[in-house]
């Protein structure tokens, strides 16, 4: 059966719904690592630029921060899109906003990824 635009949006909604849950689980892990490293591994430690650089030069930790960035961006922007859709904006408007959020996510992801990569 030929898919309508509604179905295509609906299928994306289905994927987004699943990814929202997967990224939520991922965020628990990445946030856990992030908080442990920054606040609980050495409580009271003063965080300096050099200590952050040292940490990010260690590949697994860099990947953890990258994961936090990507998962966090997706989770936040997808959640924002869901809220916008909840208010019933017209279909065209919704699609436009979806593209804007996607672009925003890509730009922020690239900027953040570039910043992390620079430290490595």
């Amino acid at each position: 059966m030929k898919q309508t635009m509604e179905n295509k949006i609906g299928n994306w909604n289905a994927i987004a719904w699943l990814l929202q849950r997967l990224t939520a689980v991922g965020l628990l892990l990445f946030l856990g690592i992030h908080f442990w490293l920054l606040h609980y591994r050495h409580p009271g430690e003063v965080i300096t630029y050099d200590s952050v650089l040292m940490r990010l030069r260690f590949q697994p930790l860099l990947l953890a921060d990258l994961g936090l960035l990507i998962f966090g961006l997706f989770h936040a922007l997808n959640g924002l899109q869901a809220i916008i859709q909840d208010y019933g904006f017209g279909a065209g408007g919704k699609r436009g906003l979806g593209w804007i959020l996607l672009l925003l996510g890509l730009v922020m992801g690239l900027l953040g990824g570039f910043a992390l990569w620079q430290t490595f």
Binding site: M1, E6, N7, G10, A14, W17, Q85, G88, A91
Partner: protein
């Protein structure tokens, strides 16, 4: 001398009244009095112009759903004693246009209900009756959800319906699930496509308002979650 109830009612006739207003009536309380008894007393003895719907009076038809003391309830099944107060506030169901006083236009509700094809469509290849034993797993799955009397209480309580006028709503989606889960029905894939749109199952965020107000103790949120799973995994479940 018996006790009296303070009953505040929403009054409005669109097109005639400038704006809605509230009127308070004193109603003598009697034993085992239901809200419907209160309203019929007011209409019979105090104000014959009061407009509201009712039919079966035993919680089977769903006609008398109203917003009573802060939540949607059936007037015939809500006892005054159960409210725990002598001050009663009654408004028409939210999320629906008012026709007069406590009577709402249910067209938006039923339009959305109709969108999901709420009737059984038999499979074309079946020649004989499909027997479903009483204790069968597939029957138990939808048994409770079949009790819906389309009173509109869930629809009127859903915040997603309030914010998004295009959202199908809990009653329609619950009905869609009942039919999609029915192996005898031949339009499951089509219905799944209908509810898989941006105004379908994906607008539900699991707030459970619908479950809280349903007079038949149905959990539309659960039905909607089942539909979401089917939409996501339909390729592996052989649907759609």
């Amino acid at each position: 001398m018996g006790s009296f109830l303070n009953v505040t009612l929403f009054r409005y006739l669109p097109g005639t009244d400038h704006s809605p207003r509230y009127e308070t009536f004193e109603v003598p309380e009697s034993k085992q009095m239901a809200i419907l008894d209160v309203l019929t007393y007011i209409q019979k003895h105090l104000d014959r112009s009061l407009t509201f719907r009712y039919s079966c009076r035993i919680g089977m038809c769903g006609s008398c759903a109203l917003f009573i003391n802060g939540r949607s309830r059936l007037a015939c099944r809500t006892l005054v004693d159960g409210l725990g107060t002598k001050d009663i506030h009654i408004r028409p169901l939210p999320n629906l246009p008012v026709i007069k006083d406590l009577t709402v236009d249910l067209t938006p509700f039923f339009d959305k209900y109709e969108k999901i094809k709420p009737y059984f469509i038999a499979k074309e290849d079946r020649e004989d009756f499909y027997r479903v034993p009483e204790g069968a797993k597939e029957r138990i799955l939808v048994d409770k959800m079949l009790e819906c009397i389309t009173c509109g209480a869930c629809f009127s309580s859903c915040t997603m319906v309030t914010t998004n006028p295009f959202y199908l709503g809990p009653a329609a989606l619950n009905r869609a699930f009942c039919l999609i889960a029915d192996k005898r029905d031949g339009a499951g894939a089509k219905r799944l496509r209908l509810v898989n749109g941006p105004e379908g199952v994906w607008r539900c965020h699991g707030q459970f308002n619908c479950m809280e107000v349903c007079p038949k103790k149905i959990i539309p949120t659960w039905s909607i979650q089942q539909l979401k799973k089917r939409c996501v995994f339909k390729k592996w479940m052989g649907i759609g």
